[in-house]
Symmetry: C2
Subunit: 148 residues, 2 copies
DNA sequence: GAATAACCTAAAGTTCGCTTTAAGTCAAAT
DNA sequence: ATTTGACTTAAAGCGAACTTTAGGTTATTC
């Protein structure tokens, strides 16, 4: 049993445009076409699309996924490289989380700043010494050295 | 005392191109120019640049920062809106962190998958029932319903 | 005073992941 | 039989945040 591109788009929550774009980019290696040119998606194609979505959700770029497809085609001999891909990706992901946590601290500071400003007026915010300390801790850019 | 664009670029870890780009986009409201056209950055400009970097690091887009500049110009009457900006941004940041943590789980699964594949061969990975459960938990796309 | 380095503007190019447009074919429903 | 709707390709467009290129002026240094 096969599915038209429209059905698949509906199932996957993508547009037909996106699916054709993926196909054009070589991200749908096994989708066959009728003589009329109409794409015929099989269950295996749907499964691959789910894997594609999964790979996307791990933060891989489309070109990385293309590379991954090539590794898959090589079979067993690419196992190590595939494993490495995900380990690298994990490191990137960890770094991003760390950066976002730092961002959260800055946002919390800003939110407290504006609470204070709304209560006591913006000109009085830094009479609150805790906020001053917080500001100095969070926003002093270590790379910047203002000369003299 | 003023700084040339090159010095500022060096201090801030940006390129001169980026600084001119920011200026063109209206993100450096107070930078003055000599009659020759050369930009003269003051300490106040450096401080604003640090704030700019801070705002960027909170995940704000340049157009949001431009909007923020306009709010600053309005002074006191924009306090509430400015406060709202950061609260919204905090929510976005929280959501991003949540998504990345989910991503981490998927990556950990993939890494375990490849550990197992390297140990026992790719064809035997899902003889490990824990990995099967993990896969089903993480990768079953709820939106997909394969008919029949 | 001439070479070189740093500055200037304006505009086009880049990357990513699509989305949109244009122009057309094909199959089903009325 | 014709209209509607889903499919096709190919190519251009989009938004974000720069980067690069081109062509030119100014400032510093030998």
């Amino acid at each position: 049993m096969t599915y038209t591109i429209g059905k698949v788009a509906e199932m996957m929550g993508l547009t037909t445009h996106t699916l054709r774009f993926y196909d054009k980019e070589g991200l749908l290696p096994n989708v066959s076409k009728a003589k009329s040119g109409v794409r015929q998606f099989t269950d295996a194609d749907i499964n691959w699309l789910m894997m594609l979505e999964c790979l996307k959700s791990t933060g891989l770029q489309l070109k990385d996924i293309k590379h991954y497809i090539n590794l898959l085609k090589k079979g067993n001999s690419s196992l190590v490289e595939r494993a490495e891909m995900f380990k690298e990706q994990k490191i990137k992901c960890q770094q991003e989380i760390k950066a976002l946590k730092q961002t959260m601290k800055k946002l919390d500071f800003k939110i407290r700043y504006y609470e204070e400003a709304l209560k006591h007026g913006e000109e009085n915010v830094f009479k609150n010494k805790e906020l001053v300390r917080e500001r100095d801790k969070l926003f002093k850019l270590n790379k910047v050295r203002i000369s003299k």
